[in-house]
């Protein structure tokens, strides 16, 4: 166990009374509650945390926030492996296991670091220029090889054992960032009575105040922030969510956010790891602050180089001294506070300022002994695995050091303001892009608006809160007293996009640390004609890593502008798209994984099917019995038995999944007449009829039955697959086409359980169970409808047949479904009643020549399917006139036919094409295709339905059914599609 050699004796917002253990690359280390992984590593004297993406250069901790480009680590192991996690955002917990990435065999000795030596040969675009021939090698060799050499962490191959939640939240004002601006905005907005949601990235509020040694209202800024936060927590109209990254803004003021609920805790099964929020707001206050810019000089990526603001955070928030001999390099006054704080913490500090002395106002805050080099830059740092010397230019001075803190100024964080298409505009005076026209529903405050004076930030935050509340219709609470912060030196930035003359081919000056893009790469892009911001980004991959160029983009635009000799405003800028930070797939999926990937639907009889050994199949979301194998039976044997049982005696199938729609009102009949090709308004009460609906273009949309239960009362069934689509179609027709019709309808699919009882003995079986309804053929003929009771439950009985047998469909309120099913099964025992599944149903409807989904494929007309005679000529209906188009009325259309193999032992497959000559290939030789193929126990051989060109006139013709997928070519004969009981004597008997 190591000693925390760089931990200061006092200070920081950590719990020094407790020590926790963690490991990094297997090495046991200690930390304190409140530490991040990066602060804990620095406390233990560890800067080197990873290898770079392309050149495998040693890299160290560079920031203290989500923008970290270097210190990406893999957390956990097994299914909990979380690669590419910024160490700066990981809160250390007891037992945390972290590993460095992109190195082999070890972090200190990485064989692929040879890439760094070969860097002059690997400029931007190298891969695309080099690995072009032979083309086939790209997928097999080049890409896998490059992916292996480059890249970041590796995903686990195991299932993620953690669970994730989703949640929704609504608010008037969403404030992102609980720094000084966000806290003031939240307080002002909340006091006006508006509902506020304050989302903050970190574990406790305060933003950059948590890392500063500044006083507000006479007290240290961190406790001041905590006090405001406590005040907000006590307000009913405020919700404060910590550890939450708002990663995207979408249309309609909808935001995506991820709350890291359990990431800072020892993993367990009870606590969700993360919660994915969808937030709906009326107003956005973007108080996300600003991100410090690196300075670009040779070797600026070496471990031990760190942003100046980050070093301040490590000292003030974590009580960690990241270096003892520090050089601070800046082009602005802000970094002077870093020099001051490090010096006061015991470090020896030298400050290098690129500006002339007369432009600097912050000198006075430094202790006298801090040496300052005005008008100087760091041109290069030395030290492969850790900096040990900084070389100044133009003086040539060399400074020994173990930490180089850099500050190139601050870039407002505009991402959320830009996500819905607003483009940032360059502000020359403030030397940054700003969102000057963020729209009426969004505004920025504080650092995100390039306001860096703390008193102005506090004032601007309060103003933004009041304005947002007012936009939501809430008046001002009055002039609340603004807090007063101590006066700080002015920002006084003088841009420095790269240190002049610092670029050498031997050791690079990096612009994008995470994607290893150098100044030389940008120069190459410019030389090759890719100098525009959008082109350079894609040519060099600048800004395309997981940090999305948060550190790199601004310097790159400045360098490109210099290379082109034009203002930054003319080099173009890129906009931002969600996500602002990487989000785990688990958080996006939430509970929707595994068995909960999508809901399933069960009929009222599902349990009976389960205990009777049903094998289920998916029908949309429904789970339907496919077949019921008995001991020793395979699929084919079970289906054959089920079919023969029905054909010879009686069987029952669950058809609850059918869509069911009930219609009432005096115009219900007329409404149906206009929807279906046949007529229903003159159908007698207590009768049913098969019906077909067309789409507007004349193609068949759906089919089913229509029953008239009363003069103004109809009940229709539609196919399982189209249950929702037909309901939508009917709503559209009623609301748009015929709003004057007095008809009311709704889906009652869930309200009724349904079962079809089929077979020559079905009447006898039902007669034993149905009370209150006579079922003899005279009283209750084919297509009759009646009501009775079964086992005491009400039942609607329809004499309808899909199988071609004497058959009845029984509908009962769903709560009685299981009881009615069981009663019929019990009554059918003397007849050997069998339950049958969807496959036997398919076999029997095919034997009967009834069309179903495969034939209703959206390209067939009623005439194609042999249903042309059903189309009424005495009324108008949807699709009628389009069926007269020549293309739909031609004689060479694909028409429904039956098929059987010439040799009865041969089989053919659905999807096989029908051709005249064997062995001839090509799309144009197809005469049609097989839509359904089944083994028919009734016929004793395979049968099929097919759509064949001019098919009805080709009965008796022999064709080849060819399926190259199955390596199959079978001689088939075109036959009548009705294979059994062509005159319908069985179902009418």
């Amino acid at each position: 166990m190591s000693r925390q050699s760089n931990r200061l004796h006092q200070g920081g917002l950590i719990d020094r009374t407790r020590e926790i253990s963690f490991t990094f690359d297997g090495r046991a280390l200690t930390a304190h509650p409140g530490d991040t992984l990066s602060s804990a590593l620095l406390a233990n004297g560890i800067h080197l945390t990873g290898r770079s993406f392309k050149y495998h250069r040693p890299r160290g901790i560079y920031t203290a926030g989500a923008e970290e480009p270097n210190a990406l680590v893999t957390l956990g192991n097994g299914g909990r492996t979380a690669p590419n996690t910024p160490a700066t955002m990981v809160e250390v917990y007891e037992g945390l296991e972290a590993h460095s990435q992109n190195r082999w065999p070890s972090l200190k000795f990485d064989l692929l670091a040879v890439n760094s030596l070969l860097k002059p040969f690997f400029p931007a675009g190298f891969y695309y220029k080099t690995f072009m021939w032979p083309r086939s090698f790209w997928y097999r060799l080049y890409e896998p090889m490059i992916r292996r050499a480059a890249g970041l962490g590796t995903l686990a191959n195991e299932s993620d054992p953690d669970h994730y939640e989703k949640a929704h939240a609504q608010c008037d004002v969403l404030i992102v960032g609980a720094g000084p601006a966000g806290l003031m905005a939240a307080r002002e907005a909340a006091h006006s009575g508006t509902s506020v949601l304050l989302a903050d990235d970190h574990s406790f509020p305060g933003g950059h105040l948590t890392g500063e040694a500044i006083e507000i209202d006479g007290q240290p800024c961190a406790p001041w922030a905590a006090g405001i936060s406590d005040e907000l927590k006590d307000m009913e109209n405020v919700r404060l969510i910590q550890r939450t990254t708002v990663y995207g803004r979408y249309d309609g003021m909808t935001f995506g956010a991820v709350e890291r609920v359990g990431d800072h805790l020892v993993p367990d099964s009870a606590t969700p790891r993360q919660r994915s929020w969808t937030i709906h707001a009326k107003q956005l206050i973007n108080a996300t602050g600003a991100i410090e810019r690196p300075l670009v000089f040779t070797g600026n990526d070496r471990p031990g180089v760190m942003l100046a603001g980050a070093a301040r955070v490590y000292v003030n928030r974590f009580g960690v001294l990241p270096g003892r001999n520090v050089v601070v390099f800046t082009n602005n006054d802000d970094a002077y506070r870093t020099a001051r704080d490090l010096s006061q913490a015991g470090a020896t500090v030298t400050l290098v300022d690129s500006r002339a002395e007369e432009k600097v106002s912050a000198r006075g805050i430094l202790p006298e002994h801090v040496e300052v080099h005005f008008g100087q830059c760091i041109s290069k740092v030395k030290g492969r695995s850790h900096v040990h010397r900084a070389m100044l230019a133009p003086s040539g001075t060399e400074l020994d050091c173990d930490l180089v803190c850099v500050s190139g100024g601050w870039t407002p964080s505009l991402h959320l303001l830009s996500h819905v298409g607003h483009r940032p505009i360059w502000d020359e005076a403030r030397t940054c892009f700003l969102m000057k026209e963020p729209g009426n529903d969004a505004r920025a405050a504080g650092g995100a608006a390039a306001t860096f004076d703390l008193n102005e930030v506090l004032s601007e935050g309060a103003k933004a809160g009041r304005a947002a509340a007012k936009s939501c219709g809430h008046g001002s609470p009055g002039n609340s007293k603004l807090p007063k912060a101590e006066n700080l030196p002015a920002y006084a930035l003088e841009p420095l996009w790269r240190v002049p003359g610092s670029v050498s081919r031997a050791d690079a000056a990096f612009v994008d640390l995470q994607n290893d893009v150098t100044v030389a790469d940008l120069e190459l892009a410019q030389r090759e004609g890719f100098g525009h911001a959008e082109h350079a980004k894609r040519y060099t991959t600048l800004g395309m890593a997981t940090d999305q160029g948060k550190l790199a983009n601004m310097n790159a635009l400045g360098i490109l502008a210099e290379l082109q000799g034009c203002p930054i405003a003319e080099t173009g800028t890129t906009t931002f798209r969600p996500l602002t930070a990487p989000v785990a797939f688990g958080a996006i999926a939430g509970q929707t994984r595994g068995k909960a990937f999508r809901p399933v639907r069960h009929s009222a009889m599902h349990h009976w099917h389960e205990i009777h050994n049903a094998v289920f199949t998916h029908a949309g979301l429904w789970m339907r019995p496919y077949y019921y194998p008995r001991k020793g039976e395979d699929f084919a044997a079970a289906v054959k038995r089920e079919v023969l049982s029905v054909r010879s005696s009686v069987g029952m199938v669950d058809v609850s999944t059918l869509g069911k729609i009930e219609l009432k009102g005096p115009d219900a009949g007329v409404f149906l007449d206009r929807l279906y090709i046949n007529s229903f308004s003159r159908m007698r009460v207590n009768r049913a009829r098969y019906g077909v609906m067309l789409r507007e273009d004349g193609m068949v949309f759906d089919d089913g039955t229509v029953s008239r239960l009363g003069p103004d009362h109809y009940f229709i069934t539609v196919t399982t697959a189209n249950a929702s689509a037909v309901m939508q179609h009917m709503e559209f027709c009623h609301q748009v086409h015929w709003p004057q019709l007095d008809v009311q309808f709704c889906t009652v699919s869930e309200a009724w359980a349904a079962m079809a009882v089929a077979g020559p003995n079905s009447r006898d079986v039902l007669a034993r169970t149905v009370k209150g309804l006579k079922l003899d053929n005279d009283t209750f003929p084919f297509m009759a409808v009646g009501e009775g009771t079964i086992a005491g439950a009400p039942a609607r009985i329809f004499r309808i047949s899909f199988s071609g047998e004497l058959a009845y469909e029984v509908y009962t309120p769903a709560g009685f479904g299981a009881g009615v099913w069981e009663a019929i099964m019990e009554a059918g025992k003397p007849d050997g009643i069998t339950s049958y599944g969807t496959e036997a149903m398919t076999v029997m409807r095919t034997e009967k020549g009834h069309v179903a989904g495969p034939e209703l494929d959206g390209r067939t007309t009623a005439a194609d399917l042999g249903l042309g005679q059903m189309m009424s000529t005495r009324k108008d209906f949807i699709g009628r006139w389009m069926t007269d188009r020549s293309g739909l009325a031609g004689k060479d259309r694909l028409q429904l036919v039956g098929l059987k193999p010439v040799r009865v032992d041969e089989t053919f497959h659905m999807g096989a094409h029908l051709v005249n000559d064997q062995g001839v290939t090509g799309v144009d030789v197809s005469q049609g295709h097989i839509t359904t193929s089944v083994y028919s126990p009734t016929c004793g051989h395979f049968i099929g339905l097919a759509l064949l060109r001019s098919g009805r006139a080709r009965s008796g013709e022999q064709l080849y059914a060819v399926s190259p997928l199955h390596d199959e070519s079978v001689t088939v004969e075109v036959v009548n599609p009705v294979f059994t009981d062509p005159n319908g004597e069985k179902m009418r008997g």
């Binding site: 939640e165 609504q170 009222a604 009724w752 309120p813 769903a814």
Partner: protein, 169 residues
């Protein structure tokens, strides 16, 4: 003639989530639910009188209402509705098609917010709204009693819904 059987709940063989601090979930068995759709050019008529008969009626869309009654008497409920509505509306019995889960307690809103994007906090008392929770279409009715919600779930989705609920609470 056999006695009319008791309707079977789709959750008969599935355990319901255990009560949590500040939250209870229970099925309201056999609740009568009637979908009411107004006829064209007809007003809804005075609906206030229904409440004293134990029928709560909520607007669910333009010209559409949903009536709930715990009296387990669809026929009686339809009769009472018919008495008030007369010829102005068509009634559709949905009692068997949907089970009702009553979620009650201070934690109810938070649990429901894990499923629905709607702002239920702003939902008026004694109102109902259609929404979707984890791909499941549901109707949420808010009682006059604070923190009490009835979730009307299509019967076929009951097992999936209860699985979501168990995870959510």
């Amino acid at each position: 003639m056999a006695d009319k059987p008791t309707p079977q709940s789709p959750l008969k063989r599935h355990s319901q989530p255990a009560p949590q601090p500040g939250l209870s979930v229970e099925e309201v068995p056999g609740m009568t639910q009637v979908q009411v759709i107004l006829r064209k050019h007809k007003g809804p008529g005075p609906l206030e009188g229904l409440a004293k008969d134990g029928v709560s009626i909520c607007t669910t869309g333009p010209g559409e209402f949903w009536a709930f009654s715990e009296q387990h008497d669809t026929h009686g409920t339809e009769k009472r509705l018919g008495k008030v509505l007369g010829e102005s509306a068509s009634l559709f019995d949905q009692s068997h098609g949907r089970l009702v889960l009553r979620i009650e307690g201070p934690g109810a809103l938070e649990v429901l917010a894990r499923g629905t994007p709607l702002d239920l906090a702003k939902m008026p008392a004694a109102s109902a709204t259609h929404t979707v929770i984890e791909h499941i279409p549901v109707l949420i009715a808010r009682h006059r009693t604070t923190g009490r919600y009835d979730i009307s779930v299509p019967r076929s989705y009951a097992v999936s819904f209860i699985a979501w609920l168990a995870e959510a609470i």
